[in-house]
């Protein structure tokens, strides 16, 4: 092998053919084996907020102090998905998985693990069920049942390093199609794989591509929809931050397939790190010749630019997203015409979600047979969920389609925090619905969840326990919907507002008999009457909660009770005089001075002042446990709060 590449020249290395890519990869891999030890510090947004940057700096300076820069490399990686445990540090060569690492822990890790090959046990994850310490990522139950295809690089590679990406087979799929496959063949492959859009609606990706391919036009566009607007969902963020090249490669393949030479990644403005990583990645790929003119000498041109969103949930809808890129207000347009035929600037445009595009290179590289074996008969591949809420292991999980909700929540998620009872799981964000305990054995899939009144959506999964009020959750989602409605069509603009009002009334103890029926009728009108996908789905949280938790609604309306003790108008705090030790803790902590009493004088809450923030209960020493929260109609319950 005529290895002409040396590590020094990689900066200036140009990939001008499939062979030169292979060459680079081999060189890089050969080089990698020389490095003895690696410290992978997660620098995803989650871990960053927990201080991983300081941890990384501590490693660098610590290693520098020992003059071991050549033997030990510190690398920043993307998100591991187990953000709640961050900052996460994986120390090689054994890949010991440390969690909750602080900069104070770094000297110990260096001296123990890196120098002495000893494990710092206190930083390991402990299985809450068995109490066993887990050394490696794969030992942790959170990861055990996952199947990480899309997320395979996240947490393992430096997201901004094109070399890292190439080492893990990056751009191999693209090189393959460019040299071996016709665009039609690529589309066929994707169609056979059964890949469906991961953005929510689950439209078969191959068919979308085919439609756009079949329109003859000099200009076509690929848009990567990174406007991950569902509250509580952050998988696209992690992929864009942690493995941006996968997204780029997916777009390149899609561009080749439909005949587009321009790609646009539309990213939420709230994701600055994703914008940064994507921009860096695009610049690097362009430098190397992987983007631009006549890529790999095959006559294929492709460029990508990043466009930042400006804060509008509805821009996740395809036509609104296009309007936004065109510099207009993000108001959806009626379909047809579909974007695949008449999209950005009136040209055929394929819009794929981040996760969908990240799947593409995997499918091309491994073949559709491999991919279609994963999942179920109708739903192929994997799906990433962001598992949040009252579950023990909060984070990103990628599971095979068909995995049951129970497996996700209890096996991967470790069950409910604090030993409380499971109440419901909400999937699909504002467009989705709540699924009750009796349906926990439902395998996840587009149709199965739809049948249960929810959707997969982009993959938000909110776990609720007995302390979550279901009406409050419905109200929350409608509040979101009414604020995010673009406002142009009547049912969505005004229907969501009125639904919110009624739900708000119910949570404030002002519900009236018959409200449930009116909610259902309004939901129906919004669902059937709205112009775009946003309006059609936003009643789902209300419809599904009424379907499964009607009783709770009725309790609120008829009995003035909120069993989860969430709706402030329906609860009140009181101090059990027989338990109060008059310690003054709550009295001092109360933000509105609603507690009367004195040293040696049992405290009492002035209900007319109380805002029901719960601070008194929080600060009351557990051994006294003197503050209680009760619900039901009581006298004196001031109409405060909210």
């Amino acid at each position: 092998m005529g290895k002409s590449v040396s590590i020094q020249s990689i900066e200036a290395y140009k990939i001008d053919s499939a062979e030169s890519l292979v060459l680079l990869r081999e060189t890089l891999l050969a080089d990698q084996n020389k490095t003895v030890k690696l410290v992978n510090v997660c620098c995803g947004s989650g871990c960053m907020s927990s201080g991983s940057e300081q941890v990384r700096e501590a490693f660098i300076s610590g290693i520098k102090g020992l003059e071991l820069e050549d033997e030990i490399k510190v690398k920043k990686t993307g998100c591991h998905g187990f953000c709640e445990r961050g900052p996460i540090v994986v120390v090689g060569p054994e890949n010991i998985f440390y969690q909750h690492v602080t900069k104070e822990d770094v000297p110990e890790i260096i001296s123990e693990t890196l120098l002495e090959d000893r494990v710092v046990k206190r930083l390991l994850y402990e299985d809450p069920v068995t109490g066993q310490k887990c050394f490696h990522e794969n030992d942790i139950p959170f990861y055990k049942k996952q199947k990480r295809i899309v997320l395979k690089n996240c947490g393992n590679i430096d997201p901004t390093s094109i070399e890292d990406y190439i080492k893990v087979d990056g751009f191999q799929a693209f090189a393959k199609i460019l040299s071996q496959m016709a665009p039609e063949g690529v589309i066929e492959e994707i169609k056979l794989s059964g890949l469906r859009g991961r953005g929510g609606a689950g439209f078969p990706t191959g068919i979308k591509w085919e439609t756009a391919r079949n329109v003859s036009s000099e200009e076509k566009y690929i848009i990567c929809n990174g406007d991950e607007g569902d509250p509580g969902a952050f998988m696209d963020r992690s992929v864009m931050e942690g493995d941006p090249y996968s997204v780029i490669e997916g777009m390149m393949i899609a561009g080749y397939a439909i005949g587009a030479s321009q790609g646009i990644i539309y990213v939420r403005a709230e994701y600055p790190l994703a914008v940064h990583h994507l921009s860096t990645a695009i610049a690097r790929a362009t430098d190397m010749g992987l983007l631009g003119h006549n890529i790999m000498g095959r006559g294929f041109d492709f460029v990508i630019k990043v466009v930042k969103g400006a804060g509008a949930f509805v821009c996740g809808e395809e036509t609104a997203l296009i309007a936004s890129i065109e510099g207009k207000s993000g108001r959806p347009k009626p379909k047809p015409p579909f974007p695949a035929i008449q999209g950005l600037w009136g040209k055929p445009t394929v819009i794929n979600n981040v996760e969908t595009l990240a799947n593409v290179s995997r499918i091309i590289l491994n073949g559709h047979e491999w991919y279609s074996q994963i999942g179920t008969a109708t739903d192929k591949g994997t799906k990433i969920f962001s598992l949040v809420g009252k579950v023990r292991n909060v984070g990103l999980v990628e599971v095979e389609m068909g995995t049951t909700l129970r497996e996700i929540i209890f096996d991967i998620g470790g069950g409910i925090q604090g030993g409380k009872d499971f109440k419901a799981v909400q999937t699909g964000g504002p467009s989705g619905g709540c699924i009750p305990e009796e349906l926990l054995d439902l395998p996840v899939g587009y149709e199965s969840l739809a049948k249960a009144g929810s959707i997969i959506g982009s993959g938000g999964m909110l776990v609720m326990d007995e302390d979550t009020c279901i009406v409050n959750i419905a109200r929350y989602f409608l509040d979101f919907a009414r604020n995010e409605s673009c406002g142009q069509c009547t049912p969505c603009r005004l229907g969501t507002k009125q639904m919110f009002n009624i739900l708000q009334d119910i949570t404030r103890g002002k519900g009236r008999p018959g409200d449930i029926e009116i909610l259902l009728e309004l939901s129906d009108a919004v669902k059937q009457g709205s112009l775009c996908g946003l309006g059609m789905t936003v009643p789902n949280p209300v419809l599904s909660t009424i379907r499964y938790f009607r009783k709770e609604y009725e309790e609120h309306i008829l009995e003035g009770r909120c069993r989860a003790l969430v709706c402030r108008a329906l609860i009140f705090y009181r101090i059990k005089d027989y338990r109060c030790k008059a310690c003054m803790k709550c009295l001092h902590a109360c933000p509105v001075d609603a507690i009367v009493g004195a040293k040696w004088q049992v405290h009492e809450i002035d209900q007319s002042k109380c805002i029901k923030c719960g601070t008194c209960m929080e600060v009351c020493p557990k051994r006294f446990n003197a503050v209680e929260c009760v619900t039901g109609k009581i006298e004196n319950s001031g109409d405060k709060g909210e």
């Binding site: 509008a312 207000s329 108001r331 009626p334 009414r482 604020n483 995010e484 409605s485 673009c486 406002g487 142009q488 069509c489 009547t490 049912p491 603009r493 005004l494 229907g495 969501t496 507002k497 009125q498 009002n501 009624i502 009236r512 018959g514 409200d515 009116i518 009728e521 309004l522 129906d524 009108a525 059937q528 009457g529 709205s530 112009l531 059609m536």
Partner: protein, 373 residues
């Protein structure tokens, strides 16, 4: 043009290819309620009142935007559609300042018509929150007011301002339930780039954009606008002997119903109290009275034609006096001592007559007018 046949409510209807369901239904005499539809501008299908059921389609489709297809089976009304429309109408009403008694639009209001045709469920409607928006009424424009509290966000005005006038003075600003028609930076209309043509006002289906003066004419006269050279066809609405309204003539091949600010609101100069109504003549002091001119006396005041001094005041004279005076004065002069300037504002007949008068009576070709202006 090719015809397409489709089935609407069990009736076979033939309509032009490319027509919408709404158009086909209307032509066949089938009513479909609409609020945001206006035939002069593009349809955007946002009010959702015209939703109809189409066989083999998953969802209701807006009739105003859906193009007919051969063999299409459409149902424009059934209990489910009825209820959907009622809910939508209730929602619109809940957001509308429906003080009809004080509304100048009452009687011509599309919402009133919709309520009559669709009806609504009082129980449900009473449960909806009906908050007075209490937005300030924009009265800055001298010709029309904008009351956002009555606006139903149909965007017809915005589409009109964009598609018909190309002026784009207004657009839909903000979003969700704050969505509203707005000029740049929420400025009063007068301070915006609005050209006050009133096309939006003409098309507003409700009482949101209403003329400042609402006086209903008792008869209309078709005529041609007296302002610029475009010559728009217009109808003057008359009440008594006063013009109270002008509207564009839809059949005019020139303006197709459109008018600009001058054409629509500029007629009232005809009613101006400053109009000349009696011939005037300049009067001079006796001592300045020249010798060679005709005298017309009124109430003992000398009225003369001056030769040198020109600082007299006007006095009113009768038409007979005026005609006689002008005729006899002109008779004193010959041909090229006289010049006549005609007017590009007068009719063809008058211009013809004036040049004929100049050439035949005054015996000169010294006739011109402001041809260049």
């Amino acid at each position: 043009m090719n015809k397409v046949s489709l089935n609407i409510n069990g009736i076979t209807v033939k309509a032009d290819k490319g027509a919408t369901i709404l158009k086909a239904a209307q032509d066949a005499g089938i009513y479909i309620p609409t609020l945001c539809h206006c035939p002069d501008v593009s349809s955007i299908g946002v009010c959702r009142l015209c939703l109809v059921r189409i066989k083999n389609r998953r969802r209701f489709e807006p009739a105003c935007r859906t193009i007919i297809e051969e063999g299409m089976v459409v149902v424009t009304d059934d209990p489910e559609i009825q209820r959907l429309r009622q809910v939508i109408l209730e929602l619109i009403l809940s957001d509308h300042d429906f003080n009809c008694l004080l509304c100048p639009k009452s009687g011509q209001c599309r919402l009133q018509e919709l309520v009559n045709r669709i009806g609504f469920n009082e129980h449900r409607f009473s449960r909806l929150e009906h908050v007075a928006k209490d937005l300030p009424i924009d009265t800055s424009n001298p010709f029309f007011d904008f009351n956002p509290n009555k606006c139903v966000q149909c965007t017809i005005c915005v589409r009109t301002c964009h598609e018909i006038t190309g002026n784009d003075a207004i657009d839909m600003a903000y979003r969700s339930y704050d969505l509203r028609v707005s000029t740049f930076a929420d400025k009063p209309i007068k301070e915006s780039v609005c050209v006050s043509c009133g096309e939006c006002m003409e098309r507003c289906p409700v009482g949101a954009l209403i003329p400042k003066k609402v006086e209903h004419p008792t008869r209309e006269v078709k005529t041609t606008c007296p302002y610029c050279g475009v010559g728009c066809g217009l109808y003057l609405g008359i009440r008594g002997n006063t013009i109270v309204r002008a509207r564009g003539d839809d059949e005019s091949p020139v303006n197709h119903g459109g008018l600009c600010v001058r054409g629509r609101f500029g007629y009232s100069f005809v009613n101006s109290p400053d109009r000349l109504s009696i011939p005037l003549m300049r009067a001079y002091d006796e001592y300045a009275k020249p010798s060679s001119v005709v005298e017309v006396t009124e109430e003992g005041r000398p009225i003369t034609l001056p030769l040198v001094k020109r600082d007299g005041k006007f006095v009113e004279i009768t038409w007979d006096q005026a005609i006689k005076y002008v005729a006899s004065s002109l008779a004193h002069y010959k041909g090229d001592k006289i010049a006549a300037i005609s007017s590009a504002r007068c009719t063809n007949e008058e211009n013809y007559l004036f040049q004929k008068f100049t050439r035949v009576v005054l015996k000169t070709n010294n006739i011109d007018h402001c041809a260049r202006l």
